[in-house]
């Protein structure tokens, strides 16, 4: 079969999984500076699925699309190191403050401009945890969606996808064009390829080049240019972006305060454990 064009939707996120004591400041607010920015884990699973399809179908290309501030270009480079062919950074101050609906609006415009056959994204990002952007992009594109995917392959012009649901596995068949979101139960993404790191480590967006004052690097090799699109490049209506384009609004944020409890510390000795069991029996917690 002919090669297909795949867009991988990816997000650069703060590493909320490794939230240690440093992550919260003394006043109880989040210390974002202490959290490193990473390639959203399930988007890496999605990238791996795209690369597996690329391996199996010659002529297939994989483009990493991300919406974020300028430094989100880092994850496009990361995608290139793992085997993606190119990347697009969708960036504009007008996008800031977008909820999932406004985000999916912007991403859909970028996807339409790239014009792929298949869009694959992670199920959800570890900062928002909503799992909404994938299906909302699918709805705006007017394409079918298959979520909770953990494996897929092509069979006779349709994609056969295995989904991991609550009580088991469901296998579906879907035609292109299609949006798929991938779970963390899918295979881990392959490591960086040393040759690709050498090739792409100087890949930059125009904004990065301006900041570095190093336009000559990009002019020398075209694959060093990471495409950068703003609101005009994708023809976005500013009213549908940012806070004004977001039906959901944050009314309030409260820091989670761990209630201190009076904790009884015991050893594993017979004496301590017997005393505990007696106490639990007496209070009718057990027995």
């Amino acid at each position: 079969m002919k090669g297909i064009k795949i867009v991988v939707l990816a997000k650069q996120v703060p590493d909320t999984r490794n939230v240690g004591p440093d992550a919260m400041k003394a006043d109880g607010t989040v210390n974002r500076a202490a959290l490193s920015a990473i390639f959203n884990p399930e988007d890496l699973n999605a990238l791996e699925q795209a690369l597996l399809l690329k391996d199996s179908i010659p002529g297939t290309t994989v483009t990493v699309l991300t919406m974020g501030p300028g430094r989100a270009a880092e994850i496009i480079r990361e995608g290139l190191y793992r085997g993606a062919d190119d990347g697009v950074l969708l960036t504009d101050r007008a996008f800031a403050g977008s909820d999932t609906l406004a985000t999916s609006y912007a991403l859909t415009l970028a996807v339409r401009k790239i014009n792929p056959d298949l869009v694959i994204g992670g199920r959800q990002a570890i900062d928002g945890d909503t799992a909404q952007v994938g299906p909302q992009v699918a709805e705006k594109l007017g394409w079918p969606q298959v979520t909770y995917a953990e494996a897929m392959h092509f069979g006779n012009d349709s994609l056969v996808i295995r989904r991991r649901l609550e009580r088991g596995v469901e296998t579906v068949k879907a035609p292109l064009p299609l949006v798929v979101t991938v779970n963390s139960t899918a295979p881990e993404c392959r490591f960086r390829h040393a040759k690709l790191v050498m090739k792409y480590k100087n890949a930059r967006t125009d904004s990065e080049l301006q900041a570095e004052n190093a336009d000559y690097i990009a002019n020398a090799r075209t694959y060093m240019r990471i495409t950068e699109w703003g609101i005009d490049a994708v023809g976005a209506d500013i009213e549908q972006l940012g806070l004004s384009g977001s039906p959901t609004k944050v009314k309030e944020i409260d820091n989670v305060v761990l209630q201190s409890k009076e904790t009884k510390r015991l050893s594993s000795s017979d004496k301590d454990i017997e005393a505990l069991v007696r106490e639990l029996l007496e209070s009718h917690t057990i027995g």
Partner: protein
């Protein structure tokens, strides 16, 4: 018009627990708002399904019964719900945060251009004042959920768009029958009116579902194991203790991911929320994603070798030691002392 809708998901012809929990919550929210509680349920050969929903105080049950709806698929379900919502114009729409709910909710909210908040841990009705325009929005749905890895609690609102949509995970709300004799109105949905030809693009080829053998939510005593248990073999200790105490075995996500226990036993943000009388956490570090699913337990006992484990902060008792030593001792002393 302007009522509160709950999407009721079916599993093998019966409403899933989270849908019944949402009906219970929906009933109390509808009382505050002075509107009706309406349910929408889709499936195939589901005659009489409304009788399982009326007892929760459901005023209207909309039923869509068609072979194409036998198993959940995005497009046919979305077309019916979107069409129905455009007609009925609910002010609030609630979905369980199941794989189906999290697939369907965003598709519907995108089509209706409304706001959706996922995985809410609390829902309330309240007002919202906007200083800039000196406007007060009355009786909005406060959609409350943890964010940023569970380190903050956010209250989200949709002041200007309808329906206000939220998904809620199983076990977060309690289900409670209002009155077993309560009877509302049954309305049949003419689903064929809403189906479009392109809705059947995705075909289900195969399904391998395991029967749900355990219900950890119902257990009054939970013996849970984490990654610190080290192996599936070691989980046998937990089963022994659970049996002796008359409880059920649960696991943290890390333990499930490592293959020590099945997903149906998973407690936490991506598993189930439990509120037993007693929760014994063995070899569990207690990251917020886990404690979110059990912190409301009556009494918490933590057994581990790590004095810095976060679970120790919320435990009533911390036993410092090796699970392999502690559990047999617990069993021994229980047998010796219990009547």
């Amino acid at each position: 018009m302007n009522n509160l809708f709950v999407f009721c998901e079916l599993d093998e012809g019966k409403p899933v627990d989270v849908s019944l929990e949402l009906l219970t919550k929906g009933r109390s929210l509808a009382n505050v708002l002075g509107c009706r509680l309406e349910a929408v349920v889709l499936g195939s050969a589901i005659d009489g399904i409304e009788n399982l929903l009326f007892p929760y105080g459901t005023d209207v049950v909309h039923v869509g019964d068609d072979p194409e709806l036998e198993h959940y698929r995005t497009l046919p379900y979305a077309s019916v719900i979107i069409g129905l919502f455009r007609q009925e114009q609910p002010q609030i729409a609630l979905f369980g945060a199941t794989t189906a709910g999290r697939d369907l909710g965003p598709r519907v909210s995108s089509a209706l251009h409304s706001g959706l908040t996922a995985d809410c841990t609390s829902l309330e009705i309240g007002d919202h004042y906007v200083k800039k325009t000196d406007t007060t929005y009355k009786n909005l749905l406060y959609q409350i959920r943890p964010a940023f890895g569970g380190n903050i609690i956010a209250t989200i609102i949709n002041p200007d768009h309808r329906p206000q949509m939220a998904t809620v995970r199983e076990g977060v709300m309690k289900k409670e029958i209002l009155n077993k004799n309560f009877r509302g109105e049954l309305k049949s949905i003419n689903v064929k009116e809403y189906f479009r030809p392109e809705d059947f693009a995705v075909e289900i080829i195969e399904r391998h579902m395991e029967a749900r053998r355990v219900d950890i939510k119902a257990a009054q005593i939970v013996v849970a194991g984490g990654y610190g248990m080290g192996s599936k073999e070691n989980f046998k200790l937990l089963f022994e203790l659970a049996e002796v105490l008359g409880g059920e075995v649960a696991a943290s996500r890390a333990a499930v991911d490592a293959g020590y226990a099945g997903h149906e036993r998973q407690v936490g943000q991506t598993g189930v929320t439990v509120r037993p009388k007693l929760y014994i956490a063995c070899g569990i570090s207690g990251q917020i994603q886990h404690t979110a699913g059990m912190s409301q337990s009556g009494k918490i006992i933590a057994i581990n070798n790590d004095s810095m484990a976060p679970i120790n902060e919320i435990a009533d008792y911390v036993i410092s030691g090796d699970v392999a030593e502690v559990i047999p001792r617990l069993i021994k002393h229980y047998k010796a002392n219990a009547r």
